[in-house]
């Protein structure tokens, strides 16, 4: 099990990059990951539901047109066509917006894909409130809860471009079905081409002992910024990048609970059944400690700019800092 992973950047090294981080789209990581796969595996095929551009599968389509399958606006069909392709030995990746990948084809994911345990790879784009102006219907914030509930499924929420690219390649090597969630807008790059990525193994990005901030997706960056602010207040916060929501790295969580005594989770997802819920399940079964949740509070999203929305929905670094202060106060009061 990975604790502090050698290659993982440490707080000091992060500091400058945190101030002015390189911004890159996670969906491009998905698109480039598919191209990496197309080159190394002949069995990888890609399906899309009339969203080639916004899911960046065009990268693959241009290089491997004969392995690219346009399904049109028919997510249910796409999920099951992918299953049929898998039954003939292909490794199918399908791409659409996460709201539709997780909800419109949930029954197909459950029965045909997961129950049969076929290696269908689901690319859920436009995850989270950061999607922006499209508004609520297009801001997927329920996928973690839905996918976690289905047996045989794995759920991955990479934190940046590089991790999404690696997760996409790793997804193909996993002989089971899995779901990768990524976003629309450019987000800070916090890992590098060589930082480690293993499905199911959390990466500790920052050492800390007063409390642990466990985050996924774009919130990993917010967590690192918050940890730096907390440090200036004399609080040592550990930061865990929980890129895999299922299977969950329960060991890293138990260690964080034991060693830090308080946990804050940070996710761009509804507060029920997401990262916070997954960590809470692990915490109460191992080492119960106070937890605070930074997440969308069971509300639909709305139109707006990425930052404006993240602030309005209470999921920016300052919200993580406030949650950390609450968690610490509760830890001290025990």
């Amino acid at each position: 099990m990975t604790g502090a992973t050698p290659a993982a950047p440490q707080a000091e090294t992060l500091a400058p990059t945190l101030a002015k981080p390189e911004m890159k789209r996670t969906r491009e990581g998905f698109g480039h990951g598919l191209v990496d796969l197309g080159q190394k595996r002949a069995d990888v095929v890609v399906l899309v539901g009339d969203l080639s551009g916004s899911t960046n599968v065009t990268f693959f389509a241009e290089k491997f047109p004969e392995r690219f399958i346009q399904v049109g606006v028919a997510e249910q069909n796409m999920m099951c066509v992918a299953a049929g392709l898998a039954a003939t030995g292909k490794i199918p990746f399908l791409a659409t917006y996460g709201a539709f990948a997780s909800c419109r084809s949930a029954d197909q994911m459950r029965v045909t894909v997961a129950y049969t345990d076929l290696p269908v790879k689901i690319g859920g784009a436009h995850g989270g409130i950061s999607v922006g102006p499209d508004g609520a219907t297009h801001q997927a914030m329920e996928e973690i809860a839905i996918v976690r509930s289905i047996p045989n499924m794995k759920m991955i929420v990479p934190c940046d471009y590089w991790e999404t690219r690696k997760a996409t390649v790793a997804a193909a090597d996993d002989p089971h079905p899995n779901y990768i969630r990524f976003g629309r807008e450019p987000v800070p790059v916090v890992t590098g081409p060589d930082s480690p990525f293993t499905i199911g193994k959390a990466n500790q990005l920052r050492e800390g002992s007063d409390l642990a901030i466990i985050a996924c997706g774009v919130m990993v960056y917010e967590a690192l910024v918050a940890a730096q602010e907390l440090e200036s207040r004399g609080i040592s916060a550990r930061v865990l990048n929980m890129h895999t929501l299922k299977p969950l790295d329960a060991e890293a969580i138990a260690r964080a609970a034991r060693e830090c005594g308080a946990i804050v989770t940070a996710e761009e997802h509804q507060i029920h059944g997401g990262l916070g819920g997954a960590v809470a399940e692990a915490v109460v079964q191992s080492h119960p400690v106070p937890m605070e949740f930074v997440a969308v509070h069971d509300r639909f999203g709305r139109s707006g700019k990425q930052d404006e929305l993240m602030a309005a929905f209470g999921i920016k670094a300052p919200d993580v800092v406030r949650a950390a202060e609450r968690a610490l106060a509760r830890k001290r009061a025990r």
Binding site: D50, S52, G72, Q76, P133, T137, L309
Partner: protein
């Protein structure tokens, strides 16, 4: 409430206003869809300014007709039509897709009074309209239900579930309109996932099928009239349109499905439509009361 009483000429002029609104609001928001809204402007205008019995002053008017856009992404034309028809002041259009303001990227009932049911996920709207049509009939209400769909949207299986349902229950108070602009996000509908022969499909599902030039106001008026006449069957109007209609550089180009014109493009588009961005934005800004906007046609 009395219908508006507009001539074909009035309606054409109003449709032009709607197109200008679409370009002006997109120029401001710099986010949103151009193609479908422009192809829907003519039949949309005929619906809102002639065919439908709506009452923006009394949204819960029990005698009102009900309308629902299954293609939620065409909010620019929906809001332009609502604004011109008096659901809210035209000036609000300039807040499209902004955090402040009540005009969400996709139709939201609780943000925009007048929207009956929120939408944005394709394929669901005809089913909603079926429920409205059946519920109205159960209550003996003489109302008509209008549902606007896209042609790429026809690929969603739920539409065929609803088609079967509407015919089974003989919902002749239901009229669907398909914006048959032959384009969708990834290209030509026939290349992405062919839907032809579309009329045969709807006939095979026992609907009264009406085909019309979706930019010919007179033909549209007649089509809606025919739909009213159909007994024992729901009607669908296949409105043959051109994506981006009215803006030379957008016409028939799928790349305009989901992007707004930048400032220069908006200037050119509005010039082509006989006005300027400045002039038309000023018109929107000056219109701060909800009422049938000044212009073509008599007020209701």
């Amino acid at each position: 409430m009395p219908r508006l009483d507009m001539t074909v000429q009035d309606l054409k002029e109003r449709a032009l206003f709607v197109r200008r609104d679409i370009v002006a609001l997109l120029a401001r928001s710099q986010s949103g869809h151009s193609g479908g809204p422009l192809s829907s402007a003519d039949f949309g205008t005929v619906l809102f300014f002639h065919e439908m019995n709506v009452n923006p002053r009394r949204l819960d008017d029990p005698s009102r007709d009900m309308w629902h856009f299954s293609i939620g992404h065409v909010t620019p034309v929906i809001y332009a039509l609502m604004g011109e028809r008096g659901y809210f002041p035209l000036v609000d259009l300039l807040q499209f897709r902004q955090f402040k303001g009540h005009l969400q990227g996709h139709p939201s009932k609780h943000d925009t009074p007048g929207i009956e049911v929120s939408s944005g996920s394709l394929g669901q709207g005809l089913s909603v309209a079926c429920g409205m049509a059946l519920g109205s009939r159960m209550d003996g209400i003489e109302r008509r239900i209008y549902c606007v769909m896209g042609d790429g949207e026809q690929q969603e299986g739920q539409i065929w579930e609803a088609a079967m349902f509407a015919a089974h229950y003989k919902l002749d108070n239901l009229c669907a309109v398909i914006d048959y602009n032959r384009k969708q996000i990834d290209g030509d509908v026939q290349d992405v996932m062919g839907i032809a022969p579309l009329a045969d499909k709807w006939r095979g599902f026992n609907w009264n099928v009406i085909e019309a030039d979706g930019h010919d106001v007179a033909a549209l008026l007649k089509s809606f009239e025919d739909a009213r006449g159909a007994r024992g069957k729901p009607s669908v109007i296949l409105a043959r349109t051109v994506m981006g209609k009215g803006v030379s550089f957008m016409e028939d180009d799928y790349k305009w499905h989901g992007v707004p014109p930048n400032r220069e493009q908006a200037e050119q588009a509005l010039r082509e439509m006989g006005t300027s961005l400045e002039e038309w934005t000023a018109r929107l800004e000056s219109h701060t009361k909800p009422e049938v906007a000044p212009g073509a046609g008599r007020r209701s």
